[in-house]
Structure formats: C-alpha cells, structure tokens
Amino acid sequence: MIEISSTPIAIIIILGIAGVVLPVINVIRKEKGSNSFYAAIAFAALIISIAYVGYQFITENILPSALFSEDVIIDDAFGGFFAIAMLIVAIFTTVGSFNFMRKQNYPAIYYSLILLSTIGMVLIAYSTDLIMLFVAWELMSIPTYALVGFIKKNPQSNEAALKYFLFGALSSAIIVYGISITYGITGSTNIGEVIQGYSNLDPGLVPLALLSMGMFIAGFGFKMGLVPFHQWLPDTYEGAPPTITTLLAAGTKKAGFAATIRIVVLGMVVLNLDWTLALGILAIMTMTIGNIAAIMQKNLSRMLAYSSIAHAGYILIGLAVAPHSSLGLQGSLYQILNHAVMKGMAFIAVAGIVTTLAVTNLDKLKGLGRRMPITSLGLVISLLALAGVPPLAGFWSKLMLFGGALDATPALWWAPWLAIAGVLNSALSLAYYGWIMRRMYFEGETEKRVSEPKSVIAVMIFSIIFLVGFGVYPDPVIKFVEFATPVISNGFMP
C-alpha cells in the first residue's frame, strides 16, 4: 500500500498544486508581465520536491531498487534516482527560462506546463503498472507538444511542434497497441504479473510477446531518439524554444530510458532471447549515425541534437549487456544522470546565446569566448564532459559503460566491439566539439563583452561545480548509482 508521505505521491501533490494554481493566479491578477513571480513559484515547488526526495533518501525511507510491486507505483531507489535527475533538469529549465520568458507572453501557463510535464517524467520511473506508465507517459508528452509550439508567431516553432506531435502521437499509439497485446497474452497490466506471465508462456504465444516488446522498443525509441526513429528529433530541437529543448533532450529522453529498463530489459530477459544482439546493433547504429550527422551541421542546436542522438547510443550499450553485467546497467544510469546535467547545461547555454545575441549559426559564434565568457566556459566544459575527457564527470560514466561491455565478454563474444565503437565515437565527437571551441576562442576579431543573463550564469556555475566536483571525486555518485540500479540476474523474479 502506498502512503501519502511516499515520494511519488508527495511530488504529485507539490508539483500538481503549483502547476494548477499558477494559471489560476494569472487569471485572478489579470496582468501579463510578472514573469519573475511565476518563475519563483515554479522554482520553489521544484526545490521543495527535490529536497523531499533527498530527505527520503537520507532518512532511508526509500526501498532499495525493486522492480515489481502490487501497486501501480512503488517508492523505490530506482524511481528516486530518476526523480532527482528529472527535477534537476526541470530546475535548469525553469531558471534558464527566466530571461527568455521576459520577451514572451503567458509566463504562468509556460511554467505550469513545465511542472505538469515534470510530474509525468518522474512518475514514469516510479510506475510498476502499464496503465500508470501510459498515463504518466502522456502526462509527460502532451504539455511538451504545447511547449514546443509556444512561440505562436514563429513558423519554426510551430513546424517543430507539428512534427514532434505527429511522431509523439504515433509513438504513444504504438505503445498502447503493445500494452493491449501484452494484456491479451498475460491477462494483467501489473509489470510483475506480466513478467511472470511471460516466463511461463505458451510457445505459440511467444511471437506475440516478441511483437509487443518490439512495439515497446519502437514507441519508447521515438522519445529516446534511437536511430531508425530519430527523424523528428533534429528538426524539433532546432525549432523549439531553446529552453524547452533542454527539457526534451535532458528530460523526456531519459524518461524513455526509465520506461525501457522497467519493461523491455526485464521482459526480454524472461523471454530468454538473444535480444542483446539487436539492442547492441541499435546502439552502434545510433551512436555512429548521430556522430557522423553531427559533423556536417552548421547550426549549434542541430549539432547538439545529433550529439544527443549519439548519446542515446552510448546509454543503450549498458541496456544491451544488462543481463550479463550489472556494471553496464550502472553505467547506463550514471550516464543518464550525467547526460541530463551536461546536455541541460549545453542547451541552457544555447538559450542564453539566443536570448542575448539571437544567433545559433556556427559561423556567427566567432569570438564568443570574449563576448560571453561565462556562458562560453560552461558550454566548453559541458562539451568536454560530453566527449568524456578525464577530469570531468562524463569520463567516469563512459568508463563504467565501456567497462560493463568488456565485463560481459565471457557471455557475449561481440561485446568488446560495443566498447570499441563507443571509444571511437567519443574520439569522433571530440572532433566536432573541438570545432565549436575553436570557433568560440580562436577566431573572430576582439569584440565587446555583452552582459550575460544572470539566470544562465547561475545554471552554468551549478553545473560546472557538479561536473568538475563529481569528476574529481566521483565516489558518492557511484555509490548512489549502485544503490539505485536494480539487480537483473537469475534471481529477480517477482
């Protein structure tokens, strides 16, 4: 039985009340311009939520990472881990939006939609029932459709929203179809019972189970940006308001991974298939195509969008080797947390550049290092961390991922190739990251320094401390990740 003081319920109550009250206050006050007031309410709600999650962890009220429950949600460490990652992303988005939203209308609705979408993302990681998972999935998606098209007069924003909406609606339709098949062959929607139903399935029904798993991979893969399903992603990331791109790249994408770990990884283990090869091929394709396409881009948001496709590939390595190496899954979770911070920071830097200079074309970024020093420093550190350069946090998560691939070698002869592909791709990504850095620091005439948005500076400083601090001293995060990673081996049955 879930109590009202448990973390997911508390987060729903805190964020839900703030999210519903914001537009009501807007109607009562009848004024348009008080962006900072609404931002402060949203920020306070998010800070209270993340403090509550942290408090629950410190007082050890959270169960160790369990995968199943009788209820529709479970208050476990896996969900708590994702809740912290998603809330950090939502805080980045709220703080980073502060300067951006000054020039836009309807700030109350904007922040309210961010809060509602955050509830969805957090609940996905907590849910242990397919109905709950689907409702949370839609709660996450529907506000983001509106947010991507939030700048109504801008044709790019609208086109990005239309593309995102079509692919998003298709992905949720495919997920519902997968759920319907799963329900039909196992007679339940509780994930524990589904897994049990899969483990003693009539041999004639196994193809249907496979079909449902394929539909889950396709449906979640749309949001994660895996390669055959990635066409919408660069367009949407480029056209959306840059702050909302942060929410998409660092938030909704990670929620897709949470859902995949909850369902697909377990289901595939039970169905006893050689599915690892399929996920491994998807991983290699995703990172290679993402990186190669990124090299050819001329627009900063678009380049970062392809780089986030490539990162979905790295994270997928850990899922592919999960049944044979717990290190791989831990690496995936660690990379998810790091990527949330790194990509969030990079896109907030882009948002800062767009609000002050209104450029994203790489040719126009010449001399940015002198015009906006702190934002540029943040962007450089996030790019280095994304490439996995040693003293930063991104290095440790990649090390764990590739180590996990090597760890699985006795069971999977091709697993080292995953690590090799990952290392080669990291080197490749350093090439285009280096290109951005060269543009920013070594080209262009000396230009005057412009004043940088304070909110962006705040995000930059926090993330630089996070990336450098946990890069030099990674032990606490690694312990946290180990605590949060579910154990997938022979004895995990419900």
Binding site: F134, E138, Q156, N158, S172, A173, G187, D235, M296, Q297
Partner: protein, 101 residues
C-alpha cells in the same frame, strides 16, 4: 468463443495496418492525425475484446483511460494545426520546410 476473439483481433490488426498506411502515404495534416487515431482505436478494440474474454475488467478500464488521453492529445494537436493554418493558410505537411539539416 475463441473464434470470436480471433475475429476481433483480426479487425484490430487491419485497423493498425490502415493507420500506418495512412501515416506513411498521406500528406494532409488532419488525415495523418486521423491515421494516428485509427491506430489508437485499434488498440482500444484489442483491449476491450481481451477484457471481454478474460475474467476481470482490466481491459475496459485501460480502454477508458486510453480514450480519455487520446482526446486530450487530439485537442493539443488540433490547436497546433489551427495555429499553422493561420500562418500558412494550408495544412499540407510538404509545405513546411523552414527546418532543414
């Protein structure tokens, strides 16, 4: 009884095929939205049919949730289409070309 279930599932698979075909071929935005709706309804039909043949009512509950959520989704989608129509006076997806890589 078992025969009837097969018929329901066959209809649902046919609807799924029609929906995917519509998405792949049509270029009018509203038609594509309809295609997505057909896929969702195929899933709903599946769930109601399975729920009818299983000893509990989970399938019907799930179908109700899915119908309500699909309605919310369509509301957002139609509002995006209205904004696009005001800008372009056209809802042909082939005309939207401001974003390219």
């Amino acid at each position: 009884m078992a025969n009837e279930l097969t018929e329901f599932v066959l209809v649902s698979v046919a609807l799924l095929g029609i929906g995917i075909y519509g998405l792949a071929v049509k270029r009018n935005f509203i038609r594509m939205l309809f295609a997505v709706e057909i896929v969702i309804n195929a899933a709903n039909l599946n769930m109601v049919a399975f729920g009818r043949f299983l000893p509990h009512s989970g399938g019907q509950t799930l179908a109700l949730f899915s119908i309500a959520i699909a309605a919310a989704e369509v509301a957002v989608g139609l509002s995006l289409i209205i904004v696009a129509y005001r800008m372009y006076h056209n809802i042909d997806i082939a005309d939207y070309r401001s974003l390219k890589g």
